[in-house]
């Protein structure tokens, strides 16, 4: 869900950079050195997960998992996602320097929203509730990211409205897939290592 270089207007880029810088700064402030290996290693997991391609009908998509990232890392999700996207930029040229701010914000803000919405819920005693919430978490995170990508396009210029609509529609199946995967994944963590969910 990266927006390529050269598309967005200067005001949108600048807004993205300043919002991301502020949020990353806050995230770093909240993270002490002791948490460094944890944030870094979980951030690596999300980076690696983004390399996993899962079949979806005739084509395949890669995992995003920003919902789980948010629930597990809280505000550290901002620096973690920034680092992961920067690595993708240098290694695979997915995105570049100027869009790093916007792209990070589009991925990480939904993560933080999921953190506040579901952080409690996924620790509920009731298995069924957890499963449903986890599904919504995965679904919503991708939906919000899609909406933000669309918004960034629309703020750049009216002519992008069509493109923005398509971005959201194209992500609908991905939302469902991410929801299912997130539900199974949270279920796995609950069974195997419930401590991880206790941020």
């Amino acid at each position: 869900m990266h927006i390529s270089e050269g598309i967005l207007s200067a005001p949108v880029l600048i807004t993205g950079v300043s919002l991301t810088a502020t949020a990353v700064g806050y995230g770093l402030k909240k993270m002490d050195y002791k948490q460094m290996p944890k944030v870094a290693i979980l951030s690596s997991v999300f980076f690696v997960a983004s390399l996993i391609h899962v079949p979806l009908g005739p084509s395949s998509v890669h995992l995003i998992l920003n919902g789980v990232t948010g629930v597990l890392l809280g505000w550290s999700a901002f620096p973690a996602i920034l680092v992961a996207l920067a690595l993708q930029g240098v290694l695979f040229q997915f995105g570049g320097i100027t869009t790093l701010g916007v792209n990070t914000f589009n991925m990480a803000l939904p993560a933080i929203i999921c953190f506040y919405l579901f952080n409690r819920g996924v620790r509920s005693e009731n298995n069924f509730i957890v499963l449903i919430l986890a599904f919504v978490c995965g679904f919503l995170a991708v939906l919000l990211s899609g909406v933000m990508v669309a918004a960034a396009l629309v703020f750049t210029g009216e002519p992008f409205i069509q493109a923005a609509k398509l971005v959201i529609i194209a992500h609908l199946p991905v939302m469902i897939l991410e929801g299912v995967l997130t539900a199974f994944c949270i279920g796995f963590l609950r069974k195997v290592r419930p401590e991880i969910l206790n941020v």
Partner: protein, 247 residues
């Protein structure tokens, strides 16, 4: 293993101080991203293509990267000419193709490719570790650079962990399809990676403590700033400023 495909080589750009490269790349990207003048952008594209040529990278790799980048651009080409208001130059059924729309899509294509090419020539020719060291020298927040350093190192471990787990599902006859069994399997795989990573992160931190870690990373290799590299950097930046001043 995740390979840094462009980082090996001994071209001019491979040897150039990564600090200079980061500053030039940043400067270049911002200028190109906000400029709308054809003359400036042509000069920018020239710079980017020239830089890639000087870096002597494998054309095939470059092309494959550009293909990925341009897939989103291609998608814009399918819409912008129809949705951008402007002089109608052709009518396709009920759709009007506007001249401004085509111009705009063209502009985006040049910008995007220039920035990506310059990024490859300037940034991807350094190893991630050198880039991160350079960021430290450029006074990036210490915590952020350390996070970078760590994330990348464990990206490799976790990636090979992923490869091994993926091998484990392969040798047991797994075939990926669009169904619950597949999604559950991948979710378990990610879940297992998360659990193991979480525990590993604790052990790694302990190992660091045992080796006298006190919250600061000392580096073994330091860059020495060479005057000639400073001059190279100033020359490249002058060229980029020149681009903006073009009519």
């Amino acid at each position: 293993m995740i390979k840094e495909k462009f980082s090996e080589g001994d071209s001019f750009f491979h040897k150039l101080d990564p600090r200079v490269k980061i500053i030039v790349a940043l400067f270049f990207s911002v200028i190109v991203a906000v400029t709308d003048k054809y003359t400036s952008l042509s000069g920018g594209l020239l710079f980017a293509v020239g830089a890639v040529a000087v870096a002597r990278l494998r054309t095939k790799e470059i092309v494959s990267r550009l293909l990925v980048v341009n897939s989103f651009i291609f998608f814009l080409w399918l819409m912008l000419p129809f949705t951008f208001p402007g002089k109608n130059i052709y009518t396709l059924g009920s759709l009007n193709i506007s001249q401004e729309g085509i111009k705009y899509a063209f502009l985006i294509t040049i910008k995007s490719n220039s920035i990506i090419l310059a990024g490859i020539a300037l940034l991807s020719t350094s190893s991630i570790f050198n880039l991160v060291h350079a960021l430290r020298h450029l006074h990036f927040p210490d915590k952020l650079t350390q996070l970078f350093f760590f994330t990348y190192r464990y990206t490799q471990t976790i990636h090979s962990e992923y490869i091994r787990l993926n091998n484990a599902i392969k040798i047991r006859g797994f075939k990926a399809r669009t169904n619950f069994h597949t999604y559950r399997t991948y979710a378990y795989l990610v879940g297992m990676m998360l659990v193991r990573s979480y525990d590993r992160s604790k052990r790694v931190y302990n190992a660091m403590l045992c080796r006298g870690f006190k919250g600061k990373f000392w580096t073994l290799n330091h860059f020495v700033f060479k005057k000639s590299e400073l001059i190279t950097g100033i020359m490249m930046i002058s060229y980029i400023i020149g681009l903006v001043l073009l009519p």
